[in-house]
């Protein structure tokens, strides 16, 4: 039995960041890298299923990215994943979420897991599409934003719950293998102590090239993407102001502002 968990090393902004010269991303020096918050939960879910299972279950984490991603993969290994895969090739630079999904689907074909987990979204790009797009490419059933899961590895189906608007819960049975994107709060992710992260260095991180997963340079990067980032920028500051004075003065000032605003629109 095998569960494949797709994880991403995300970037968070440091204080006083600068935009890259080409204007399409933040300068890498100003980014702090860490495992995507959602992936903490999907890895935990897979490890919990493994620990609860009487039959042996292998939890494999996979990521797409350069070698500094190993740090996040080791964290996953420290939390109980058995091995890790990382795919990287310079050609992957500039991929959109669909191209990344193509890589992920190729990994899934190679690994043939019983279940594929991904986070609902990544905290830096927030496309919320990689996992679901991979399901589309694989032709597997899928569900997004899973907040509770009952699954015995090897079973033909799994039952999960999703939270809907208005406090409704949605309980769904899905055929396996399937792709589920895992929501925050589905479990309590464990703490990976530094010691366990260090010890996880003994577990293998396999680095794969595009050729290893039967993809070509044209399948990824901007060539394999259907969208491209045009620019990344900080919008002009909004103009908030505190209106002071008594109620009548405040109302008068408010009316004045509304008039100004309407005038500007016209």
């Amino acid at each position: 039995m095998k569960i494949l968990v797709a994880v991403k090393q995300v970037a968070a902004l440091d204080e006083d960041f600068e935009i890259r010269a080409d204007g399409r991303d933040v300068e890498a020096d100003f980014l702090i890298r860490d495992l995507n918050e959602w992936d903490d939960f999907s890895v935990e879910e897979a490890v919990k299923i493994k620990e609860a299972s009487a039959d042996p279950v292998e939890v494999v984490v996979a990521s797409v990215g350069p070698d500094d991603v190993d740090e996040s993969l080791r964290k996953c290994l420290a939390k109980g994943a058995d091995r890790a895969l990382r795919v990287w090739d310079a050609a992957i630079e500039g991929s959109d979420s669909i191209a990344i999904a193509r890589v992920l689907a190729a990994i899934a074909r190679r690994e043939a897991p019983d279940m594929l987990f991904a986070g609902v979204q990544s905290s830096d790009q927030s496309f919320a599409s990689t996992g679901i797009a991979a399901a589309g490419l694989l032709g597997w059933p899928h569900a997004a934003v899973v907040s509770a899961l009952t699954y015995a590895p090897g079973a033909k189906s799994a039952v999960f719950r999703r939270e809907l608007e208005g406090g409704l819960l949605h309980e769904v049975e899905i055929q396996c293998p399937a792709v589920l994107t895992i929501q925050l709060g589905i479990n309590t992710p464990r703490y990976a102590s530094l010691r366990s992260i260090k010890q996880a260095a003994a577990k293998p991180i396999e680095v794969l090239s595009l050729a290893d997963i039967a993809l070509g340079a044209g399948d990824v990067g901007e060539a394999g993407s259907l969208s491209r980032v045009r620019r990344m920028y900080i919008p002009d500051k909004g103009r908030a102001q505190l209106i002071e004075g008594d109620a009548a003065q405040q109302a008068a000032r408010l009316a004045e502002i509304i008039r100004e605003f309407k005038g500007a629109q016209a």
Binding site: I32, Y191, L194, R195
Partner: protein
Amino acid sequence: MSRTDAVTRILFEAFSTVEVRLFYVLGYAAIAVFGYGVYVQIRKYRRGATLALEGGLWTRFGAMLGAVLSHRTIDRRDRAAGGAHRLIFYGFMLLFAGTATITLEYDILEPLFGIRFWHGEFYLVFSLILDIAGVALIAGLLYMMYRRGWMRLPKLDYARPDRAPGDPDFNRPQYRREDWAFLSILVIIAFTGYVLEASRLIWLQDRADVWDTRWWSPVGALFAEGLSALGLGPQGGGLLRHGLWWFHGLIALLLIALIPFTKVKHIFTAAASLMVRDPLASQRLPRVPESQEQVGAAKITDFNWKQLLNLDACTKCGRCHEACPARAVGAPLSPRDVILSLREFAKGALESGTLPAAAELDIHGKAPGQVAMETLWSCRTCMACVEICPVAVEHVPIIVQMRRKLVEDGAMDPLLTKTLQTIHKTGNSFGESKRKRGAWSKALPFAVKDARKEPVDVLWFVGDYASFDPRNQKVSQVFATLLREAGVDFGILYDGESNAGNDVRRVGEEGLYEVLAAANVSALSSASFKSIVTTDPHSFNTIRNEYPDFGGKYEIQHYTTLLKQLFAEGRLQVAQPLKYRVTFHDPCHLGRFNKGYEAPRELLKLLGCELVEMGRCRANSFCCGAGGGRIWIPDPVGAEKPAQNRIKEAAAIPGLEVYVVSCPKDLTMFEDAVKTTGNEGKFVVKELIELVREATAVRTEAAPA
């Protein structure tokens, strides 16, 4: 036979050979049981992990002997108990020595070499000394009984804060029974000794060598007068002596046989524990060897032999129970009960012939003998327990080693988990960008040197709180100004500095501590400086005592000694004495941990402040509650916090104006506690640095602001 030869201790007189042989059989049996018990105990300790002790055996022996003979550690904070124990100890030792010398002569020297010394004046003097020793012993024991029975000292109450009434190990009445049995058996032995002596005198009153020298045993002679007055004659005396001889002898042999199995063993375990004491037990926590697969104590056998011995050394005196700040505010922790729980666990698991399966050695949990995680997380690692323990039990490393296991399992407060992740990611507990570490210095009218870029005399290790907490940043700015005005060539590491790791280590996150220590040691070794000063006692402790284990040996001082030195050299001067009525809170890591009691007090005196000490000061200072990573764990809602307990103590000082602290965490904790205890407006909390500034800065204040 001359008179002096005849005057001697009456031993087996009038005993049949069978009786004498029976006594020897019983004596050897008692020694055999004792020997077996010692074997079982030693086997128990040897089932713990190995540990190589530093330092010479004789130095250790000398230190132990000094502590035992002087009773220095038992006197502390309870002179009456120390005095009574001294009476018991010396009384018992003399009586034991007396009995032992008789054996030496009767069973060894005389039969083998024909040497006799137990007669004549030597005997008479010894007889007098032993009679007095018996009085001392009984007096000490009776006082101890009075304490247990009538004084109702809270520290001698075995009810546990980490158990509920009704739990099988809630107040452990078996301890009470054992205490009373121990005291009673000793009183009975001593008392029957006198009656035995008296009946012997009456029995042999016709023998001049006995009767005429009877006042060399004054207590025995008094008893004899009394018994005579009651009508006891020589014949009755003989019978009574015969019966009591056996009673007294058997009970004494019983006591010897029981030593290794009862609290009596503290005679040996406490002395041994004092001998293996580590004076830096809490200041410098044990490293985890790289090769060691498992981190922390999960099983009883994960403790080393010395720690297992520590468990048996505890005499339940309750001083740690009394000193513990967590216990004082009702948290489910008493250091005493951690030790006693584990002792019971070790007794159950490690005294049998075969070692139980690993699963039965798990010390974490809520069953009797186990320690609950709530208990372990209640500890502030403030060292109050270790510091006061009269028998050198080292609670803090035991608790931290158990926490290491909890951290490994992730069994901790979610906020603490978050903080540890934050520290790993950013190098500070505030989750701020590394780049902002030196940002507080931007508000100064001068630039603070970057010690990574240019050499400085004094490297100031700022620490997390003083770098990022807005209130403490103000203190940092004042301290920088003081150093500049005193002409000190100083600098900081800016973003090269990371959290020093003192509290991370005390949480039990050893791996993260290793990363932080390595990062700081590497940053420090890339800078050029003569010595380090720090405004943070926590950083002070770990850099001073723990970094040497990580290759970082530096000369470091807390700012209080540096400021004192600057005053002494005239580089800082008091422009206007402050005249405040103040009290001073000793930070755990400056005071108890590193004995920095004097410098802050001398500074306050220099500034012209009137220092009024709180009851709990210096070594007995009361933790603010922030230590051991507790600053990152929320305290239970509604319950009193240690800082509030402390502020209430200070508030009782009439006319108090300033509550002086010298630790950034103290400033945070106590300013909060002054508000939450409704003392706002009555007195203020100030950093000593701020008072120094106030007293020295009149010059600049004269200029228009």
